[in-house]
């Protein structure tokens, strides 16, 4: 009998899901073609779904797959196919990669530290789910900073695309 137990496997699954989530998040930002981004988004979403399943929210995890990947991301892929907007970015921007790694780390640290996988909560309460994030003040500050940076970046990108650069 080899030493495989349910808890060691779920630990491994937890780490693999976090890795998938991190790889997906980074991939979405650094991918150079639009459909590659969509593929990475699928990987990230699958990571989220398996984290939800490991946290005891099996039903929500399945609906996350059905609604977000099965429908929403598929529709994004369709828009990309129709518009043919697989334009490569002109310059390599390591700042984007750093930002994405930073964001992924910030969002994942509380999950790693507090392991809600073993809490077995009943039903999804957003307040309870966000508690580990809010308990650590540094994490909260970092999340706020990250979200603000992402919004500013998004606005900057939108402004530069909408103006004179377009033919």
């Amino acid at each position: 009998m080899i030493g495989l137990t349910v808890s060691s496997l779920s630990d491994a699954a937890f780490i693999i899901s976090l890795l998938a989530l991190a790889a997906g998040s980074v991939g979405v930002v650094v991918a150079r073609k639009a459909l590659h981004m969509v593929s990475w988004l699928v990987v990230a979403s699958l990571g989220v779904a398996s984290l939800l399943a490991l946290s005891g929210y099996g039903y929500i995890s399945v609906f996350h797959i059905v609604v977000y990947i099965g429908t929403a991301i598929t529709l994004i892929a369709m828009v990309i196919l129709m518009l043919g907007c697989d334009v490569e970015p002109r310059a390599w921007r390591p700042g984007k990669l750093l930002l994405s790694v930073f964001a992924a780390a910030v969002l994942q640290t509380p999950v790693l530290l507090y392991k809600p996988a073993y809490l077995k909560m009943e039903g999804l309460e957003l307040r309870k789910a966000a508690q580990p994030l809010l308990q650590c003040w540094l994490c909260t500050v970092l999340v706020v900073v990250t979200v603000a940076t992402v919004v500013i970046e998004a606005v900057a990108i939108a402004r530069s695309r909408g103006g004179s650069e377009r033919p």
Partner: protein, 338 residues
């Protein structure tokens, strides 16, 4: 002692770990799927040929009616060179068929193939199977995009439109059935039908019909074979594939058909009803699934292809409202399965 427990004691692996490995690989998974696929493709070609007054596959194993033709084709395709077009996205092009087929193969883990023959049982196994099936269209889109071919891209676009329309109807019919049985576990659903002695297709024929039609759409069967559309767009998203990758793309739709018909057998035909032993029960499930697959491939000989707008109209405007009727019927018939 069941074969799984015997194997687990010999391999030194726990039972709960061995089951999810054996189910997708052996039965009801790939080992059982391979002869089914060969037989179904042969039957499809033979029946269509008979309807059109031709002979169909004949030269390989003439005495057996050419049944080994598909095996010969399979061997040829397996040894054929895989050609990747210069303009294609190499890695996406090569990985997408493997990913799509793996996703469909993973579905066999949750769908039981007989009494006690399953990968793992969950109280939401019906939804897990559906979620895994709903993941494959996006990989098909990647295939179409990576091929960098107009036919492939048109096929991929069609795949999205068609799969969303079909999956909504499929989910509605599955949820109507789950509401009727009061459970989303395949094993509990079959047991409920066994206890009541009434298969789901009798209690709620509307949901069964919707499921069957949606399966035809999702698996590109005639009259809804818009994604492949041989006369219009060659092979749709699979146009540029050759060799073993082409075999995988071909097998993908048949694997989907097999797993969805397995789901139909469990949800609407009482699964292993009326048998309860693992061997006979599994044979019963297998036979029912095979008959359903034969019916779905027979439709190729009697129907033409619908247009995309007709299919979208049929599913969104006609079948989706019918799904509400299936829900109402389930609410009425719920008392049968208490």
């Amino acid at each position: 002692m069941s074969p799984v427990s015997w194997l687990s004691s010999h391999l030194g692996l726990p039972d709960w770990l061995l089951r999810p490995i054996l189910a997708p690989l052996v039965y009801p998974g790939l080992l059982a799927f391979m002869p089914v696929a060969l037989f179904i493709i042969w039957a499809e070609r033979k029946v269509t040929a008979r309807v059109q007054m031709r002979v169909g596959p004949l030269y390989v194993s003439r005495r057996l009616g050419g049944v080994l033709q598909l095996l010969a084709d399979g061997v040829r395709i397996a040894f054929q060179e895989v050609i990747v077009p210069e303009t294609a996205e190499k890695y996406s092009f090569m990985l997408a068929p493997i990913a799509a087929f793996s996703l469909v193969a993973a579905t066999f883990t949750v769908v039981p193939g007989g009494p006690g023959v399953y990968g793992f049982d969950s109280n939401i196994s019906l939804l897990i199977a559906y979620a895994l099936i709903s993941l494959s269209p996006i990989v098909t889109v990647v295939m179409g995009w990576a091929s960098n071919n107009k036919f492939s891209q048109i096929g991929a676009g069609r795949e999205i439109i068609v799969s969303i329309a079909g999956e909504v109807t499929l989910l509605a019919s599955l949820l109507a059935a789950a509401m009727m049985y009061g459970s989303m576990s395949f094993n509990a659903i079959v047991e409920a039908q066994n206890d009541a002695g009434i298969p789901g297709i009798v209690a709620n024929p509307v949901a069964a019909l919707l499921f069957f039609i949606a399966v035809l759409l999702i698996t590109d069967r005639v009259p809804f074979d818009l994604v492949l559309g041989e006369q219009e767009i060659v092979q749709g998203p699979y146009t540029e594939y050759t060799g073993i990758l082409f075999a995988l793309t071909m097998a993908l739709d048949y694997a989907k058909l097999y797993v969805l018909m397995l789901m139909f057998t469990n949800v609407f035909l009482g699964g292993w009803m009326p048998f309860n032993t693992p061997l006979i029960g599994s044979l019963c499930v297998f036979t029912k699934t095979l008959v359903l697959m034969l019916i779905s491939v027979f439709l190729r000989s009697v129907y033409g292809r619908m247009r995309l707008d007709q299919v979208a109209y049929l599913f969104w405007a006609r079948l989706l409202p019918l799904a509400l009727a299936a829900f109402s019927l389930s609410a009425v018939m719920h008392f049968l399965y208490r």
